[in-house]
């Protein structure tokens, strides 16, 4: 999972990594002209989103005054960037520097090991990037690699890069990160360095060994919608097309992804991707309630498609959870088309019918699509 830049900088700063001073805003600050100080800025106002892609420069505002900070925050908060809602912004002092470079440690799944990448400029093209894989899972081997690679950098960069590597390599292993990238790594006139921007990806599977990371996520759960849903409910959820008219709910990530592909090929308009593990749904019925709440809150849906393909899960157990969850989510008013494959599928369908929810069962994906096409066809109104 991606750690938001603000949180990554806080985590690294606690460990002594130099970062520009900054604060996080979750709402537009009240502007008081009397507090204005023309010489306090400039600041950068950076939206915080759970996206792996670097933010477009256009989404980062430069604010010379407090008034401009308030205006930039107002313009960013609540918007969507790369499909992710901006729940907070980081306001930090803008560092103007002539000398920058890039240092990145990332997990190489093929070696496997650590891929060290170093570039003399933050706008380096691929041939300018010095790159080497380190197989030994050991900070000193990573630092040695950086020092080898930096031998070809301009002389004024070598000491700051070495200092950065010595600080960051132990943190890469300590946090069980999948990537720590400093871009730009700002070199100051006294040859000290500063992490201008931080991209940090951590391994969700290793969180159980990192109470400090869990604590951060719990404190800031409003900023990590996707992570919260995954950790609390085991749900992967993404709105694909706000104008879509079919909600989807599947068990199995690959099946869910293929289902979306096939729906689009047939001219159907899926609204979302929602996937959860069937066994987890049975163990945690609140997950199913959450899933139906998400779909019930979606505007413009004409139908919901639920697909279940299970090899060993008893579908009667899952059906009982689905029936209970639908009873708790009256906001779900659309017709539901369901395809269930797996052990005890027929009694599971009977159980759902007896429980009352209005569900149309289809034996194949094709017939489910045909049914959805009929429901959502020309003239059909949203529920």
């Amino acid at each position: 999972m991606i750690v938001l830049e603000h949180d990554a900088k806080e985590l690294l700063a606690i460990q002594g990594v130099p970062v520009p001073g900054g604060i996080q805003l979750t709402q537009v600050p009240k502007y008081d002209p009397e507090q204005e100080n023309e010489r306090a800025g400039p600041w950068l106002v950076k939206p915080q989103v759970e996206s792996l892609d670097r933010l477009p420069i256009a989404d980062i505002a430069v604010a010379a005054t407090r008034k401009e900070v308030a205006e930039a925050s107002a313009a960013l908060l609540g918007t969507e960037i790369n499909g992710h809602r901006v729940n907070s912004v980081r306001v930090e002092r803008q560092i103007l520097a002539d000398t920058t470079c890039v240092l990145s440690f990332s997990c190489d799944p093929i070696v496997p090991g650590v891929r060290v990448a170093l570039a003399a400029s933050d706008d380096a093209t691929l041939p300018d990037i010095r790159q080497e894989d380190v197989a030994a899972p050991d900070p000193s081997a990573v630092v040695a690699c950086v020092n080898r690679l930096s031998a070809t950098l301009p002389e004024n960069l070598r000491d700051p890069v070495a200092a950065a590597a010595a600080q960051l390599a132990p943190l890469y292993f300590g946090y069980e990160a999948l990537q720590i990238e400093i871009n730009p790594l700002v070199v100051l006139p006294d040859r000290s360095w500063l992490a201008g921007d931080v991209k940090m990806i951590i391994d969700e599977c290793a969180l159980f060994r990192h109470p400090e990371l869990i604590s951060m996520l719990e404190r800031r759960d409003f900023a990590y919608d996707a992570v919260r849903r995954k950790r609390t409910f085991g749900i992967d959820y993404l709105v694909l097309d706000a104008a879509g008219d079919i909600g989807t709910f599947t068990t199995g990530q690959g099946l869910g992804a293929l289902l979306i592909d096939e729906m689009r090929q047939r001219g159907l308009k899926p609204y979302n991707f929602l996937e959860a593990d069937a066994a987890a749904l049975i163990d945690t019925p609140a997950s199913t309630v959450e899933a139906f709440h998400l779909l019930g809150a979606a505007k413009g849906l004409k139908a919901i498609l639920v697909t279940v393909f299970e090899d060993s899960t008893d579908l009667t157990e899952l059906a009982a959870v689905l029936a209970q969850s639908l009873a708790q989510t009256p906001d779900v008013t659309c017709p539901i088309v369901m395809r269930m494959t797996g052990p005890h599928a027929d009694p599971a369908a009977a159980l759902l019918r007896d429980a009352g929810p209005k569900i149309e069962f289809e034996a194949t994906t094709d017939s489910a699509f045909a049914r959805l096409a009929g429901i959502t066809g020309v003239g059909a109104e949203p529920c």
């Binding site: 990332s106 391994d203 599977c205 293929l258 090899d311």
Partner: protein, 280 residues
Amino acid sequence: MLVQSLSQHHSRHQVETIRAYGTNVVGIVSTEDAPDRENGIPVFRSCTEAVSATHAAACVTAAPPESTADAVLEAAEAGIRVVVSLARNVPVHDTVRVLRRIRELGTTWIGSASSGLAIPSERLKLGWIPDYCLRPGNVALVSTNNALAEDVGHRMIAAGLGQSIWIDVGNAPVKGTRLPDLVPFLQRDNATARVVLIGSAGGSDELEFAEAIKSEGLTKPVAALVPGVSLPDTYTATHVESLAGGTAMSASRKRAALEAAGASVYNSVGDLVIALQATP
């Protein structure tokens, strides 16, 4: 074969299904306070003890995520040649820490997060692949996506097709065996006439497989299914356990690479199975 770290009721039931399929389970390795035999199978306290007594060459480990890497290493050090590990959510750094040593020992690790390996003609099943998906045939089914692979297997059986071998390498970002590692075997395996590849939206295995088709000279026809074309690239990178590759790992790019390598890429399970039927 051995079954390691058997502790949950579900796992015990699955062992019975493996035996019922016909696979010879010669021992269970459990450090828990277990009886000397379970359902007639001897229980050992370590892999070393089990291998010494049974000469087992293969092992399925049902260890929980936090101890999977060490369990696989223990099996490799005991002399096991093939280990299938089933747990999902194994920490990446754990896998990185042990994988080189496991390779040095000459052990093949299938997993983590694998649903298993099966050779239907020999009634051999290491893992939890459902019996109703398995039938002897000449198609090697390799996947990073067990649920989708099972849907394909299920429909293959219904269409009268079967598998020479089934290998689900799992969808962990760092894994013991990657899809391209299988290409030399697929080329030389006489029981395999063609290959079905079931991919995932995340990871880069499919891209590397496409490269390996060319570099390793795989001449057998490859039919592939790679879901996720309709998902945004940022989704596939963030949520499907892909590493720091971002858009480089998009399903569209994988499909294009596979097609450029000569593979036939299909849009649905139905289309794939119909094509397999048409070219026996």
